[in-house]
Symmetry: C2
Subunit: 222 residues, 2 copies
DNA sequence: ATATAAATTTAGGCAAGCCTAAAAAATACA
DNA sequence: TGTATTTTTTAGGCTTGCCTAAATTTATAT
């Protein structure tokens, strides 16, 4: 049974190993779990002894199969609890992270199963992130960056790649959320901001900085 | 902010201080939190420094107002989560204690408020124990021991004073639960076991040992 | 290639919470 | 009352997870 703290490291390592160019270094882990590099070195040794990671001094870190399983179980719990908080307790998607960080450490496989059932076996969390199944299988994030879409296209928003309160509030303030169907009317060649029309609303401008953190699914191309 | 462990001690002290003849000693606390007396002494010193208890060496322990508030907040969370587990996730009343012991340490006042609302402001938990309000006010346990009821009376079950899985399963097996309206038909003078008829069922026998752990509310006397 | 900078690890220490063994205080009892 | 027993506390130690400072390794830049 990993400790609370070990779970946080494992989850951090998993997260850092996701995406395009993974940077799983002692320093990046330290930043993720809010501690110092020296503490990370300590912990890496311990996790390595427990066979949760493969670790050679100075050579970087990788989860073992067992470590990955642990990570995905935590991610599953985190995301299911986020669904609970938003769907059942009416939290905003920008308010749930901290609480889910606590709830993800509750130990009871049975509880997770029942929660999953209670929530209707959701496939994604309130930010559009896929929820791993009980065997640790997880689907790919559904969508491409809005910033990569050409003018004229119509897309549906499926997720975000940034979970900060500030960013999520920004989207709320522009009434942009998961499932929004939007047409890219124009891309300003000056700053690459996008003029976007959300079905039946007046057009809005989305900065490139924001568009780089929005995942969308293009309309079936014609 | 009390630690996880401090919260467990505070809750144990509160529990031990409830009821007829409270026995809040170093040893009884040690038994409650599954540790040794020496560890309790350590912790009592610490809790005393934090003004959560009044403590004189060898002279016993008492919660301060602040300590009591802390205790009741934990009890509130524990009992609300138990309601959630039973009402929403369909757990049996004998299965929820362990999980609630974990959930009670989740820190978020707002979460508790929303949970309370989501559950419809329940007054009691699945065992009939009163749920403290957000200000730490708690009502008295509702009922008297079934073992104190005279033959001929009709009563409604309102709670239990023992939460072991074994006892709760025993009640389940006899289809005895909160809200059962039962008539005491006879008390056997030999072993004080009770012949009880639950509305519209065949009579059953309840041993005195069991009756001492069942709380009931007598019918409005006539 | 080598010096400097950056990243990482080791060494040594600290607080929390637990332990066992021993000492001290309180209680029981003869 | 004085001794034996029980309860509680203290002393000393252990592990976890963190820290700072120093040493070591790797990367960078001239």
């Amino acid at each position: 049974m990993p400790t609370h703290s070990e779970e946080n490291y494992i989850k951090a390592i998993w997260k850092l190993s996701q995406g395009e160019n993974p940077v799983v270094t002692t320093n990046s882990i330290a930043a993720s779990v809010n501690t110092k590099a020296a503490s990370v070195s300590d912990m890496l040794r311990k996790l390595s002894e427990k066979k949760l990671i493969r670790y050679e001094k100075y050579q970087g870190v990788e989860l073992t199969a067992s470590g990955r399983k642990t990570a995905l179980s935590i991610v599953r719990k985190h995301r299911l609890w986020e669904v609970f908080l938003v769907e059942k307790l009416n939290y905003g998607w920008d308010e749930v992270h901290e609480i889910a960080e606590q709830l993800e450490h509750i130990v009871s496989d049975n509880l997770v199963d029942r929660l999953d059932l209670f929530l209707g076996h959701p496939k994604v969390d309130p930010h559009g992130d896929p929820i791993p199944d009980k065997n640790g299988r997880i689907s790919d994030p559904n969508g491409v960056l809005l910033s990569s879409i050409a003018a004229g296209q119509t897309v549906t928003m499926t997720g975000v790649t940034e979970h900060s309160t500030a960013f999520l509030r920004y989207l709320d303030n522009h009434s942009i959320g998961l499932g929004c169907k939007m047409q890219i009317e124009e891309i300003n060649s000056f700053d690459f901001s996008m003029n976007v029309r959300i079905k039946g609303r007046k057009a809005i401008t989305i900065t490139q900085a924001a568009a780089k953190n929005i995942l969308v699914k293009p309309e079936r191309s014609r």
